[in-house]
């Protein structure tokens, strides 16, 4: 092997220990070639050499500024002329080396100035952490909460792939804030007292685990997106990708043209806000357009074939389907899934959600989540009617649709906790067992009082159907034939 990959960690609080590490590796015949995200070190095989390394902080990029290629080249040329050869840079740390016996002027010659540079970089990192950590925590809560709560995210591969790194990410974000604050505070005192900067001697295990895990997971995540977009032709993924692509292009243009421009800070701030605003507006417009119009285009060019798929449509009943929308998706826990919506003018729509879990346990979990959703969804739709009935003491006939009869209402209306009891009653009536034998299945549950929603499980396969009276024997027979039950 001519190269070696190592999980390590470098930042402004520990780089002198990394200089020593690089020296040791060079003596063993490994020369550092690349550092990815400050955590993945790639070495190249060389003849064992006695090299000395020097790492110097030199700010390359902030939110509003960026050193040009020429500026960095000038720094490298001057460093070379005092005896140091450029190796690579990682964020704002520049790595140089020389033969151990060759004379050279130190890259950093003043401890106070070195600290000022570190403080400048550290404070900016802290600012970013203050802004990004709450956003990250919010998304983590959203993702992890969804993973344990709803059916959608159980089938969402990106969430399943990235979720193992989230707990580590949360801990790391919080730790980084405290670690950086401590480093800056302690060394501010050291410099005031005329002492040297004290660098961290931590082993940075959490950083190494988190960043390595992230770098390992990024490949399956990218593959997952590509598979869903190009193989399964998942329209939703394409729509999600649009703002990401527009944002990336906007960011790159800003980085390339605005940041290095020799203009005032005000001009750059204006450029930054303008970029953010235009990217947001364009993304929003494109997403809206995608949602409304692209579906027609997608139906023609992107729509995967329904052939061989287990779906229920209006064509199975009376050949009156106007059009259908199909979305195929795959995830590690549910490798095969699709949602089909059959539309018919005047008759509404029939929905089929098919999922094949990796095992029965996942399939059972999906059924459980559908049942939970069935219970939770009943009240929001009829909340106003229920509230009105109990406030005015007058029965609203729509409540019959969710199973609250006039007799039950009269019995409860004058009780102090009547409304709560009615809510509980409605929830209990929303989900109830269907006859598995009729459906030739292992489990079957109606998910609303009217029996127009049902979840059926047969082995690892789960079917969620909506849009017909699934207690009607004729409809049951047609559905069973179409779904292969």
């Amino acid at each position: 092997m001519n190269f070696k990959i190592e999980s390590n960690y470098i930042n402004i609080t520990n780089y002198p220990s990394i200089e020593e590490h690089f020296q040791k590796m060079a003596r063993e015949g490994w020369m550092i070639k690349s550092v990815i995200m400050g955590s993945l070190f790639i070495y190249e095989k060389i003849e064992p050499s006695d090299l000395e390394f020097s790492i110097t902080p030199y700010e390359v990029e902030t939110v509003f500024t960026r050193k040009s290629k020429e500026e960095l080249e000038e720094f490298q040329t001057v460093s070379k002329s005092v005896g140091w050869n450029y190796v690579l840079k990682t964020f704002n740390l520049h790595i140089y080396c020389k033969e151990a016996d060759q004379p050279a002027i130190d890259l950093q010659t003043d401890e106070e100035e070195k600290f000022k540079t570190l403080e400048f970089i550290g404070k900016k990192q802290l600012k970013s952490l203050y802004i990004l950590t709450p956003i990250f925590l919010f998304f983590s809560w959203f993702i992890l909460g969804g993973l344990f709560g709803g059916t959608g995210l159980l089938k969402r591969g990106s969430v399943q792939i990235i979720s193992p790194v989230i707990p580590f990410g949360i801990l790391l974000s919080i730790k980084n804030i405290f670690h950086m604050r401590k480093f800056l505070k302690e060394n501010r005192e050291n410099i005031k007292l005329g002492q040297d900067i004290e660098f961290s001697s931590s082993k940075f295990r959490l950083e190494k685990i988190t960043l390595s895990l992230f770098l390992i997971l990024i490949i399956p995540l990218a593959l997952h997106y590509l598979y869903n977009i190009f193989v399964l032709r998942n329209k939703i993924m394409v729509i999600i990708a649009i703002p990401i692509i527009i944002g990336t292009i906007g960011g790159l243009l800003y980085r390339q043209f605005v940041k290095p421009a020799k203009k005032s800070l005000g001009y750059k701030k204006f450029g930054f806000v303008l970029m953010l605003a235009s990217v947001s507006i364009v993304s929003l417009l494109v997403s809206q357009f995608s949602g409304l119009e692209v579906t027609k285009v997608a139906r023609t060019y992107l729509e995967p074939s329904t052939q061989g798929l287990k779906i229920l449509s209006f064509n199975d009943f009376d050949n009156e389907e106007e059009f259908g929308d199909l979305i195929k998706e795959a995830s590690p826990l549910v490798p095969k899934a699709h949602t089909y919506i059959s539309h018919s003018s005047g008759k509404g729509r029939i929905e089929t959600e098919y999922s094949k879990g990796i095992n029965r346990s996942i399939a059972k979990r999906l059924v459980k989540k559908h049942k939970m959703e069935g219970r939770d969804n009943v009240l929001p739709s009829y909340h106003q009617e229920l509230e009105y009935s109990f406030e005015e003491g007058e029965y609203v006939s729509q409540l019959e649709l969710i199973g609250l009869s006039k007799e039950e209402f009269i019995e409860l209306k004058d009780k102090p906790d009547g409304e709560e009891k009615a809510e509980e009653l409605v929830k209990n009536k929303a989900v109830f067992r269907a006859d598995e034998k009729i459906w030739n299945s292992d489990e079957a549950y109606f998910l609303n009082y009217r029996r127009t929603k049902i979840v059926i499980r047969q082995g690892e396969e789960v079917f969620y159907l909506k849009g017909k009276d699934f207690s009607d024997p004729e409809i049951v027979e047609i559905a069973k034939a179409s779904l292969g039950l």
């Binding site: 110097t56 000038e74 040329t77 002027i105």
Partner: protein, 146 residues
């Protein structure tokens, strides 16, 4: 919801009413004093010599060589220290870029930078004067002070 909005409005109205113009003026003065204190802080040795060397237009490597020559090798400024300081000086308008040729940026000190340098020189002269007074034997003068 309405209750919540009313609560917020009341709470902040009270806070704003509690802040008088005197408080605001005092806070402004504190900020001003802090800014002045920071501005009066002594320049570090590399800052001083880099600003001094930029009384004439020079590029990075030339600055390093000039400082070494000027101080007879007593002061050496490494590239890491030099370029970080040049970036900061340029950001604070203490120096300005006058040309860029063959990957070499040439800078010169600005009026703002000159003021900073002159203040530092005055501070150093005062310190030197103090040394002279001590060397000249001012103990009697100290003992007979009013």
């Amino acid at each position: 919801m309405l209750f919540y909005l009313t609560y917020i409005e009341t709470r902040y109205t009270i806070y704003l009413a509690d802040v008088s113009t005197v408080d605001i003026a005092q806070e402004d003065t504190k900020v001003k004093i802090k800014e002045e204190e920071m501005a009066k802080k002594a320049l570090t040795q590399p800052m001083y010599y880099i600003l001094l060397s930029l009384k004439e237009a020079r590029h990075g490597y030339e600055i390093m060589q000039y400082i070494e020559w000027l101080t007879g090798g007593r002061v050496v400024v490494g590239p890491g220290t030099l370029y970080s300081l040049l970036s900061r000086f340029e950001e604070d308008s203490w120096i300005k870029l006058i040309s860029r040729k063959d990957n070499k940026k040439t800078y010169v000190i600005t009026d703002k930078g000159k003021n900073e340098l002159e203040e530092e020189i005055a501070r150093l002269e005062e310190m030197l004067e103090d040394v002279r007074r001590v060397q000249g034997g001012n103990e009697d003068e100290f003992q007979n002070r009013e």
